[in-house]
Symmetry: C2
Subunit: 263 residues, 2 copies
């Protein structure tokens, strides 16, 4: 199987034009099949404010009413996605900007209303990603750039978490490619001491993960991130790497980069 790299970036890359510029240059330098997944950053909230649309967050998640869906469709699929694509083209990556509706690539189910109505938010399951269609697009010579939007297959766009999209793509495409999933975030990776960027842990396998949890080195916010990563690895993804976008050039040179989770 040929290697595939799926790389997810968030606000700390998107909201800073210098970070974004360097990231897209380093992304271009990576050989082989690759997919970029990006979140929304601050722009959606700024535009909502300008338009008088209230941003409602519950547990760090945006409640997506119909007005908010219009805003995120404009910002994620329009402004952010197309500016990333135009810059990638300048560096020589033949990018195509996408939502899950395009090519029917990612079909989600609207989240059922329980105690909270999240509105037009889409959840993914094992059947959501159309790996054959995405593979056809990559085989035709294009590099997919996904934003955090999906559809329900019945004409409705839905808002879906970018981390979740990246993970679902990786699991589904690992049947066709030797897939590595890379999450860029604000730290160099998983740190032994959260205040010391030099205390980076290079490799974590499931046994080490259990140790680190027992020692309370990994706790709170990192736990669901790493649980999800090991779940992806258990479902066929070769490795998950968590690292800083600034350091991605090391990865393109085959040098150690971030924290690598694998079996």
């Amino acid at each position: 199987m040929k290697p595939l790299y799926i790389i997810k970036i968030g606000g700390n890359v998107i909201d800073n034009s210098e970070n974004l510029y360097h990231f897209l240059k380093d992304f271009t330098a990576i050989d082989g099949y690759k997919i970029l997944v990006h979140g929304g950053g601050k722009v959606a909230t700024q535009l909502s404010d300008k338009m008088g649309v209230q941003t409602q967050m519950v547990d760090g998640r945006r409640i997506t009413d119909i007005e908010t869906l219009r805003v995120v469709t404009m910002v994620y699929a329009g402004l952010i996605n197309k500016n990333i694509v135009a810059q990638l083209q300048r560096f020589g990556t033949n990018a195509i900007g996408l939502t899950g509706a395009d090519g029917n690539f990612i079909k989600a189910k609207k989240r059922p209303v329980k105690t909270i109505d999240y509105g037009f938010v889409g959840d993914l399951d094992g059947t959501s990603v159309n790996a054959e269609n995405i593979s056809a697009l990559m085989q035709a010579g294009f590099t997919p750039v996904f934003c955090a939007l999906t559809h329900d297959g019945d004409g409705q766009m839905l808002n879906t978490n970018a981390d979740t999209i990246a993970s679902a793509l990786a699991v589904s495409l690992s049947r066709h490619y030797e897939t590595t999933l890379i999450y860029c975030f604000e730290k160099k990776g998983v740190l032994q001491d959260i205040d010391d960027e030099d205390s980076l842990i290079r490799d974590i396998d499931p046994a080490r993960y259990e140790e680190l949890k027992k020692q309370q080195i990994i706790h709170s916010g990192m736990l669901p991130k790493l649980d999800n990563a090991f779940a992806a690895i258990g479902s066929g993804v070769k490795a998950v790497i968590i690292g800083k976008s600034d350091d991605l050039k090391q990865f393109s040179k085959n040098e150690p980069f971030g924290t690598r989770l694998s079996l």
Copy 2:
């Protein structure tokens, strides 16, 4: 050569959800390769107003300063394009929504400043359309849906007239496909008597066109439209059809539709 249909829609389809619904259903019913090109409609102006961005028009053309470019990128490539794509998917068309930056499909040149500075507006020439890349996308099973945006190849998005994009695509792809270009507009086609929708002229060849101009049946606003259409035909496009979007179902059933211009 296999047939290809390039269909352009404007505000009278986009701004009316019922018209759009029927159009997309009829578009899906057309067999063979096809490309949809859409303009912007009223939404861009409405959003500009909401955001306090002034809309400046000169001779019916939008002056695209950097704020206006942000608005049209959000509205054309985000809101309108992705809603069209999600609806086409519901009808079974495997659509992918695009700007000219995606796949490096349409590279424009920023319009030089003469008496008027149009801002971030891109003009096309004979080398703008990458027919090979678009063909690769269609061969992979996807139906392109283009909005009225291009790029300069150097990281900058540009605003480009949708009629111009449709015509440039048709000319360039006519080397690979037997290409018919269809403009949907508010009338049934070219009318003998502008106030009588039953006076539709079915076929116009260059000789008939000269006659109709002499008799002043075709004048003012229709002249540049038809001049451009015959220029496209002179450059390899098989036929240009001008008709009403409501009547497109006739076309999918191989019944007469609109006014057909050809050699």
